[in-house]
């Protein structure tokens, strides 16, 4: 075994548990208030969970244009979706379609 391979294996051994552990625990929050989605979280990966928190007085939804997620959010309530697909996912509120956003999901 070459030094390079040893180093690579050692690196894998360190990174693998970290990344799998981090992926399992990753939760990102997107807030909704006054008829708008708040800032998008960075570093979202496929398999992560988005917690949508509706601080508004109105019922909203977070509905992906590609239909990969669609959650209804009663006023003052929150809901989770797991993002499965990598890429830029545009979404909107199906009740108020002028409310929109896009979330970047890495592999």
């Amino acid at each position: 075994m070459t030094k390079g391979r040893v180093a690579a294996l050692a690196l894998l051994a360190i990174v693998a548990p970290l990344s799998s552990g981090a992926a399992a625990a990753r939760l990102h929050v997107v807030t909704i208030d006054r008829m708008a989605f708040g800032p998008m979280p960075a570093n979202v990966r496929a398999g992560d969970t988005i917690l949508w928190v509706n601080h508004d007085m109105f019922q909203h939804s977070a509905t992906a244009r590609d239909q990969s997620f669609d959650v209804d959010l009663a006023p003052g309530k929150s809901a989770r979706t797991v993002v499965r697909k990598a890429g830029l996912i545009p979404f909107f509120c199906k009740y108020h379609p002028g409310m929109k956003g896009a979330i970047t999901i890495a592999k």
């Binding site: 019922q59 009740y95 379609p97 002028g98």
Partner: protein, 171 residues
């Protein structure tokens, strides 16, 4: 008729603005906003009682739900501020126009009702949004009231677009 209604709304607003030192005060603004919401809730309830069209019923449910939410917030705000909403010619104008329209709609059914209801929702939201943007928001003195009216304008603009989209589909 739609044009007449829009004109009646605008004329009533001008009438309200004239006697009270050019612009409505917060107590009048709160009354106008609450009345506008209540009238649209009543229109939505009428549609839910009469329409069998799913898209129209979904829209009407949304109107009842959203306008009730804003009005609940408005009531809580005036209570907190110790303001008693004050009746005024604008509120009265909106109410008499809406009463007339409700009677007209009551005589219709089926697709004719759906079309007339949705067309009126387009006109109504256009009138109220114009009033919010040009008169009510600029005139509001209290910051919290102004902010609630601004959220209301964003919401009602969504409703206007939704109604326009729906109206286009019913033709």
């Amino acid at each position: 008729m739609l044009k007449l209604f829009a004109c009646a709304g605008a004329a009533a607003l001008l009438a309200a603005a004239a006697p009270a030192a050019d612009k409505p005060n917060d107590a009048q603004i709160a009354h106008i906003a609450y009345t506008a919401g209540t009238l649209d809730i009543e229109a939505g309830k009428q549609a839910l009682a009469k329409s069998h069209n799913k898209a129209v019923r979904d829209f009407a449910s949304e109107m009842v739900r959203d306008h009730t939410a804003v009005n609940d917030k408005a009531l809580a705000l005036v209570k907190k501020l110790g303001v008693t909403p004050q009746d005024n010619p604008t509120s009265a104008g909106l109410k008499s126009a809406a009463d007339k329209k409700r009677d007209e709609l009551a005589k219709l059914s089926g697709a004719a009702f759906d079309k007339a209801y949705v067309q009126n929702e387009v006109a109504y939201h256009r009138t109220v949004n114009g009033a919010l943007k040009d008169v009510l928001i600029p005139s509001a003195q209290n910051g919290e009231l102004k902010s609630l009216l601004q959220t209301g304008l964003t919401l009602f603009s969504e409703h206007q677009q939704h109604a326009e989209h729906l109206a286009a589909g019913l033709k």
